[in-house]
Chain length 247, copies 2
Amino acid sequence: MAKTMAQTAADTADTTQAPPQGRIRRENVERILKAAERVFAEAGFAGATMADIAERAGLPKANLHYYFGTKDDLYRAVLDNILRLWLAPIASFTPDADPAATLTAYVTAKMEASRSRPHASKVFANEILHGGTQVERFLAEDLKALVDAKAAVIDGWVAAGRMAPVDARQFLFMIWAVTQHYADFDVQIRKVLGRRSLTRQDFDAMTAEVLRMVLRAAGLSEVQAAEPQTPAPQAPTPLQPESPPIP
Amino acid sequence: MAKTMAQTAADTADTTQAPPQGRIRRENVERILKAAERVFAEAGFAGATMADIAERAGLPKANLHYYFGTKDDLYRAVLDNILRLWLAPIASFTPDADPAATLTAYVTAKMEASRSRPHASKVFANEILHGGTQVERFLAEDLKALVDAKAAVIDGWVAAGRMAPVDARQFLFMIWAVTQHYADFDVQIRKVLGRRSLTRQDFDAMTAEVLRMVLRAAGLSEVQAAEPQTPAPQAPTPLQPESPPIP
DNA sequence: GTCTATACCTTGATAGAC
DNA sequence: GTCTATCAAGGTATAGAC
């Protein structure tokens, strides 16, 4: 239950306020937010404890309450950071941009976000999964407006014959689903592939393959370059560890 | 922490054991499992309380412990049900099957699962999101073996030129990500689309669009069915060259 | 077999010394 | 501003009446 300290969290997250002794405060807030993002990602909101977060941040529990008031407020602060991160990379969708180049950049950015900020993706996924009560306005206002605008851009591309006909909103959902899957379901992916961890090279290979599928789904084939060489299609980037390449 | 009652849960889930007074027991177990799936989906493992589950099942708390021992055991029983459900629809991937027909049936089945059993999908997603400790063996053994086998089938299709070259495992990941997204992220989808709920008609339309994108990603245009009637397919053929019909 | 009442424990939050 | 000690709420699990 949200209590009364919403303004406290707002203040700490407010970058415009930079008074005297703000330096160590700022560092501590940053450490707490980072630790909280990780613990919330690993355990969910209910499963995360303030003690866990404090330990990971290397601070006493009471400090978390001093800076953020309640667990609820801390959670919202973490989410706030994530939402900002979320909206950024889609900006490049503009009517005059090249569809293939734009999609390539977007998918690459989303995959890079899944690689570098997996905890952020998981916290957001967890929030949506459980009803998204804390991000309801974000979804219904900010995100909806953004999707409406970008869907219009995609519709324009389709109308101009610059990509295959797609339902623009579902096309965006597909890109989100696929790219975020590599962060949110990393355990499943690793176990199925028999990998202990996913390296940057793995992500590069996976990104290339995701990109190929997304571009095909958009009717934008990227095979022009590597096509004429061999009669046999070049094998997709091998991700499988020991599984033999079955003929 | 799992205690000692694992065998209790195992017994109740064991269908081979059908002794005297099994009728009401069976009904109660079923009601509890159904209620638990829903509560676990909505709140996650840590957020769910035995009291919530009991209330939704219309039984006293103590009964849950009588039938399932611990909360942990109940959770595992719910997961067991879901995992069985999970593996079923992929069976139709066989070397001699038609790729387009097989993929169509599979995507349709997965979308139908997202529509009819959203709570199951969410419980599974939540489990994976938080490390998948309860399904580690399932992932590393059962699921991995299944994916290896089905990836071999897909590789065969590709080698025979019956579909575009794809990384088979990532292709399966994509299908899972996209179809399950409609259950797991339903809140986001509804808010972005401005819908209060997603009807069966919505799902039919979304399924058709997902199918179109997946088939394109596989280099399989979906026009076979509606082909003989008219020379012009209902979907305006893209001006850009699509992935070439594989030799 | 079923359910009420309760014991025990974890955890969020705070008071008050430093 | 920081941290130790403590409280109160809410949760799992069980004992024992029915």
